[in-house]
Amino acid sequence: MPFNVGDPQNEIENHIYKLEADHLRKKSLIVNFILIGLLFPILVVLYFFNVPFLDLSVYIIVFIFMIAINFLFYYYRFLLPNIRLSMYITSMGLYIITISMILDLRTPSIFTMLFFSYAVISLYQDLRVSLFNSVLLFFSGIFIVTQFTEIFDVQALTPSTFYILFFLVIFVALLSVSSFIIIKRKNHFYKQVVDIKEKEYKYIDTIFDLQEIFSERKFNYDEYYDNLESFSEALSNHIGVENVFKERINILRDLANVKDNTILKKHSDYNQADIDELKQLELTSYKKISYLAFKSAQVQDIQPDKKELIFEKESATLNDRNDDFEVKIVAFSVLYVMLRVGNIYFPKLSNNDVIKVFSTPHFRSLIHEDILNAFLDKKNTLDKIIRGTGGIQ
């Protein structure tokens, strides 16, 4: 079997995206509450400054539009072509409102509303939106400071203007670096969580496979479905209602071998969402419920002993900073030979397979740079050593 490095990675990235999207939904709801909270005080201030009613109504429309787009993202995310669309629109909208207020009110106090807008948008914690936010703040700040000096009670550029510009640069630069670090660590954190969960399902799948090999018998899932049928029959009789489970159990039997379209034609009362939900119960092909049952049996043994932070945890590596160089070489050599010779269950891998995986960013970060370089330089010699053994026992 060829060693496929690419595909699982896409799967993982797809689910990091979903995890991210779920959290963005929550954040968009929070931003919306802030927007709703801002609307009234802003209207009061504008009213005190005698802003014409027509202008006031424009402010209200922009606010309503932002609130609507955030709610749309929260409740009907699939209707939007891109998950960032609502965030870009909110950023633009909030800066338009802020700049308009500065120009309408022409008092230096309202200038700091730009900083507040920056803080609200930064709640999303998204790399692209954060960059967009920094660019918007920087240019709108420079535009107002240099083009509308009278707002700051001066007639031309003065040391005060210099200070304001310089402070603006520091503000944007520091918060941009801060957002960059937070977002990079957050994305890495999500990736680690998704990676470990994917690994968990694969481990359980391996255990099921090993159980079948060890016991020399296949799980009889047809029998499981028969048992489910008798259970549902007995339960329905007891409650005194029609057996509503039977049709679903029949669909479960079909799901492993029959295409969704065929099932939908056969069971006209069901839609794709129903079928997708039932896939979570299927035992031979999708197996999610089997994994879940196995995991749930270990629930009392997997509670964390102490509260540790993921960033402070040690994870498997061949490049522990406390180890001597010789120890790192031996550890690397052991892993390399283990992979090349395999064992009774896991097949041996070719030199190219191993090189391919050792060259991925994840594994590169686990191996001492000098050892990896020496390995890549001597890959043919090492391959000859392995072949020379003629396979291990």
Partner: protein, 393 residues
Amino acid sequence: MKELILKVRNSEFLTLNELLRVKVSVVMIFLLLFGLLTIPVSFFEDFRLSIRIIVPATFVSLFAFTFLMLMMQKSRIAMHFSIYTFLGLTVYYVDGSGQLYGYFLLFITLTVIIFYQDITTYILYGGVLTVYGVFFIQTNDDFVSGLPENLAHISPIIYQTILIGFFLTYLFQFILTDSINENLNEEFLKTEKANNLYQDYVNRYVRDLEDREGINQLYDQDSFQRTVKDVSRELYGANIENKNDIDEIVDYYFFLHKQDVTRILSNKNASNQALKYARQFEKYLMNRNSYINDLFNTFHLNNRSGLSVNMHRYDQSLERLFSNKTNRILSIAVIYLILHNQVTRLDRWGRLSKIIEHIEIKKLFQTKEYREYMSFEDVNFFMTNENFFKENL
């Protein structure tokens, strides 16, 4: 500088302490820039003499102390002193200049505190600074400029509201990030613990299969040991001239597989070299849950396809997985069926060969930890109808 940029770019791989060091370094660069650009300019401004002397002197001493602490690896103390430097500058400029840019400095200092991403530090220093800003504006009319008399009272309120709003928005961001991270962190720790358990199960099955086939463990095979030695010599020779030095270390690595490493580590008569290598090799031994076995399995698991169910991929609560009540009843039945018919637990000899009896399943479902899978409502349903489960599944 290049190294610092590289560290910021790869900040997701840093430990919390390393990250704090990077952050203090970044703040110090801004601080230096700030000092170099603003203090000379302040001589052209109409500041009091005390400000002209105290500001540079305080700045230089605080900066020097922060730098010293950073050099002495006391990143946390350095962080506090970098904040004190900014706080000092803010108070001097706000109080001394009474101008708008002094007020902007409040936001810059809050930004520096936000940059460190420590909620306690933010509440403490950020809170004090915000309260100071609010009181300062309340007691100084200088900020009210260019407004008609009837609106003069609004300007301070705007200043104060925006400052408080900015502080609260970032405080909210801290709380939000912490709550999302805490949940994910717990998920990660549980899954990691589960994976360690599964690693053990997989290794035991493989060992049992090899025993059944009469295959020696890899670490016991001379040919494997010889191959590891040859590979180590090649890699070691590429970096260090005398290849033979590594032989003894490889021999000691395999020797440890036949020993109780804990006893060696607690042996007061053991040589320093023996203790050092035993300590370092412990995590790489092949006959236990170790980094080597984890990486070997990870290599092979990467090649396995993951779950093909994408709906609620990582959810495990039946309540979230199944919106349909009938499906939820079926899911409880399937879980019971698997627990009651398949090997899911360790037996008294520590082998994964135990099928759980009805009474044990009942106990398991009632545990506090099992609420992650089944709600009280699900468990009540099971308890009310337990005979149907017991007799049919």
